[in-house]
């Protein structure tokens, strides 16, 4: 199918001003671009978790698996293992993949499976109406922490670097040109691509005025250097006041899990023969 209508006619229920619109628009443009370059969108699959971000599965008119809270990444892993020809894009939230499904995220990075994980990181639970997430700053007052949180956020970029991700980037929903480049490069990257996207939650954590003066685009940074990446991802810890770098922090090419796990197909006859041989060996 070419020139397909990329947005479904499903009614959109994100709040006005939600950063998810920017992400959807960005993905739509990237998909249209890929199609123009000759890629069939029949071979693209979008997997989402549960949360505001996940509605994107209903809104984008491509193959999709609208999964469970925290479980987008293992579903995406299964899809890629089953059919390595598919381009697998996994949209997930910070509550989704940093809390409920953190183990899967770490393991996907560890395996370097060829997929792209985009974290819609609004640093708050939106759909459950405002509780803290693993990246909310210390003291965040949410409905489950009315006196403020008493735990520090973790730094997802640092975590992904330690876990073995081979493409690590950070974007911002108010810097859409850069966001498009980062996600596009992640999709093109052969390996596990991770993009943490600072996404505005207009209703529960509207951080535009905080982010906009602090963000800057990485320059003179060598993403091939692990040590440089380690230093750079620590510049901002998702808690203290510091410049917030946007761009690709780390990228290298390594063998992918899906390639290494690929199975040589066996014909039905060969399989029956193998079964017969096995049964014979047991008698």
């Amino acid at each position: 199918m070419t020139g397909r209508q990329l947005i479904t006619d499903t009614q959109n229920t994100w709040c006005p001003g939600c950063g998810n619109f920017s992400l959807q628009h960005t993905l739509k443009n990237i998909l249209a671009g890929l199609e123009q370059e000759g890629k069939s969108l029949d071979d693209v699959v979008l997997v989402s978790g549960i949360g505001c971000h996940a509605k994107i599965a209903d809104y984008l008119n491509i193959n999709s698996f609208y999964a469970l809270h925290g479980r987008a990444v293992p579903v995406a892993t299964g899809i890629k293992l089953a059919n390595p020809e598919l381009t697998v894009i996994c949209c997930s939230g910070d509550g989704d993949s940093y809390a409920e499904g953190l183990d899967h995220l770490i393991f996907a990075a560890k395996r370097n499976i060829d997929m792209t994980v985009i974290i819609h990181n609004n640093r708050v639970y939106g759909l459950t109406t405002g509780q803290y997430t693993p990246t909310s700053p210390l003291g965040f007052r949410g409905k489950s922490t009315p006196m403020g949180t008493v735990e520090y956020p973790f730094n997802p970029l640092e975590l992904m670097l330690a876990s073995g991700a081979t493409y690590i980037a950070r974007g911002y929903t108010k810097k859409m040109d850069l966001l498009r480049t980062l996600i596009h490069d992640g999709i093109v990257h052969k390996g596990f691509a991770f993009i943490d996207v600072l996404q505005i939650c207009a209703t529960f954590f509207p951080l535009t005025d905080y982010y906009t003066p602090r963000v800057y685009e990485l320059k003179d940074h060598d993403p091939a250097s692990f040590d440089a990446a380690c230093a750079k991802v620590k510049e901002w810890d998702y808690n203290s006041d510091a410049p917030i770098g946007l761009g690709a922090f780390y990228q290298r090419t390594l063998p992918t899990f899906d390639t290494r796990m690929a199975v040589k197909p066996v014909s039905d006859e060969e399989r029956s023969r193998a079964v017969k041989m096995f049964l014979l060996s047991r008698s």
Binding site: D42, F65, F107, A274, F278, R282
Partner: protein, 550 residues
């Protein structure tokens, strides 16, 4: 002798299971139906392990209390199994480690004389056993050549030395039957699934399911299978559902604890209508329970697991031949109806070794379900009279394949519309009815023993063999459903025709099948329950059935 029982005992790490397998193959080669029960504690080294091998003129799936031969690799074997021995029992022991009755094999001296490694010590004991059982050397030679591919000649030399030293005690006579494949229940499940066209097996290790993971991982290249061991059981089932969505025939395997973690994924399979096969091999619960012992405590759990209402197939094979058949059926049914299909096993079945007479197993191969005709737009959940929507997978030209964990419309887009939710729920549940009808063509309920007897044993899973053995002696009927969901009420009631005393025999403390039968209007008169983690012996079962009959 027309029936023989052999016990092999030693400490964990002594290779008791493989020694037992060699004894089983000797009996197999002599023309006996063979069954091996392996008993081991949850540890790697030390502790007492034993295997009991029974050879008989007809298929057997249980072990009697008394044995004719004991192969003692350590002193504890003699002490721990006094109840299994009598004056007739022939003891063959390792002279270096065991003091006591019977014939001693000087294992150390034999190995030293042949300059053989310690690992070959068991070959000496097996050679000694063969002589004590009057088994011809040509049979020993053939079995060693077939089943010990490495260092065959040296193992045979070691075995021969012991063979020449010992005296024959009981002669196990040769029978006129060709050797049969000896398979563990898990191997049979694996072969059955492969016959049904399995593409992918995903599992996190958990006894007693792990040996299926090991078996398929070992054979994956020959069978053309993808075998994956992910981070945990949640990862297992979600990866499996991803692969299923992408068009693979997928199975997962676990035991009760791991299955607890899979229940959200199971419910997703129900809602998203993704085909999936699940092996749940029961062990003694609750919680960690007895990891290496058996139980039938998870029937109701598997039957009801997962939030919401959705159809599922549950088959509970009773032995390896049965597992071979039903596992292939499970793969095909899961795909045809786009439902989760359970193979409900237990430690006794999974890790027991059985003679499989392939001529008695109906052939089931890979069956192809109806697929999408290519008409656009593709609707993953198209409503149909059977409730089954035509399948297409991502990559199919022009198809936008959307699956969804939320309530959704026919295209797979989320909805909260009241009428649509009801319509789609009815569509899913219609598959339950279609499945129920489909399963009527299968041997859902099996009757063994005395077909017309008014007293009947009601059992499921691995206890069918021991029940049949006891029923044959007592003139009882045995009724055993192999399909437990959709519950085969009609077939069960037909099998019960003329029964006035129904005795539930189960390896659990609450008679789970009996309770389900009662819900379906089937009166259960008596219950014979065992929940020690050990399987029924024919003697104990007979005594307890006699107790409830009197």
């Amino acid at each position: 002798m027309n029936e023989v029982a052999v016990l092999v005992g030693g400490k964990a790490g002594d290779g008791i299971n493989s020694a037992g397998a060699m004894v089983a193959q000797l009996l197999n080669r002599l023309g006996y139906y063979t069954y091996l029960y392996f008993d081991y504690p949850s540890l790697i080294r030390g502790g007492h392990n034993f295997a009991v091998i029974r050879g008989a003129e007809r298929p057997v799936t249980s072990c009697r209390k008394k044995v004719d031969f004991i192969l003692a690799l350590n002193q504890e074997t003699i002490e721990a199994h006094r109840n299994a021995t009598g004056p007739e029992t022939a003891v063959i022991s390792n002279k270096d480690l065991v003091k006591g009755p019977g014939q001693a094999v000087p294992v150390h001296d034999i190995l030293a004389a042949e300059n053989a490694p310690e690992i070959m010590g068991n070959s000496a004991l097996i050679g000694g056993f063969a002589k004590a059982a009057g088994i011809g050397w040509e049979t020993v030679d053939a079995v060693f050549r077939a089943h010990i591919p490495k260092g065959t000649d040296l193992n045979l030399t070691v075995a021969r030395r012991a063979y020449d030293l010992l005296q024959t005690v009981h002669t196990v006579s040769r029978r006129d039957m060709k050797p049969l494949p000896l398979l563990t229940g898990n191997e049979a499940i694996g072969i059955g699934m492969v016959n049904g066209g399995l593409d992918t097996y995903i599992s996190y290790p958990m006894t007693p399911s792990s040996s299926l993971l090991h078996f398929l991982a070992e054979q994956k290249e020959k069978f053309g299978l993808q075998v994956v061991h992910p981070e945990n059981e949640i990862g297992v089932i979600l990866m499996a559902l991803g692969a299923s969505y992408a068009g693979k025939r997928v199975a997962v395997g676990t035991s009760g604890g791991g299955f607890c973690l899979m229940t959200e994924g199971l419910s997703l399979a129900g809602m998203a209508e993704l085909p999936l096969v699940l092996l749940v091999s029961q062990r003694t619960g609750p919680s960690t329970g007895l990891p290496t012992y058996s139980g039938q405590t998870d029937l109701r759990f598997v039957m009801h697991a997962g939030q919401g209402e959705f159809p599922r197939l549950i088959v509970a094979p009773s032995d390896a031949a049965d597992a071979l058949y039903w596992s292939a059926v499970a793969v095909n049914i899961a795909l045809k109806f786009q439902v989760p299909a359970f193979i409900l096993a237990d430690k006794t079945l999974s890790e027991g070794t059985y003679s499989v007479d392939l001529s008695s197993v109906p052939q089931v191969g890979r069956e192809e379900p109806g697929t999408w005709d290519g008409a656009l737009p593709y609707r993953r959940y198209a409503d149909t009279p059977s409730g089954i929507s035509p399948l297409a997978f991502p990559g199919a030209a022009g198809a936008v394949v959307k699956v969804d964990s939320y309530a959704h419309d026919e295209a797979g887009i989320t909805t909260e519309d009241a009428d649509l939710v009801e319509k789609m729920t009815k569509k899913r549940l219609r598959k339950w009815e279609s499945l129920r009808q489909e399963m009527q063509a299968f041997p859902q309920v099996r009757v063994t023993g005395g077909a017309g007897a008014p007293a009947a044993l009601l059992c499921w899973g691995s206890t069918r063999g021991v029940c049949t053995e006891v029923a044959d002696q007592m003139g009882l009927r045995v009724i055993s459903p192999a399909v437990l969901s959709p519950f085969p009420e009609k077939a069960l009631k037909m099998a019960l025709n003329g029964v006035d005393n129904l005795i539930a025999v189960e390896e659990n403390a609450t008679a789970q099948l009996a309770e389900i039968a009662i819900q379906h209007g089937i009166p259960v008169n008596n219950r014979v329950l065992l929940f020690s983690g050990r399987p029924f012996t024919p003697e104990d079962l007979l005594e307890r059935v006699r107790g409830v009959l009197s």
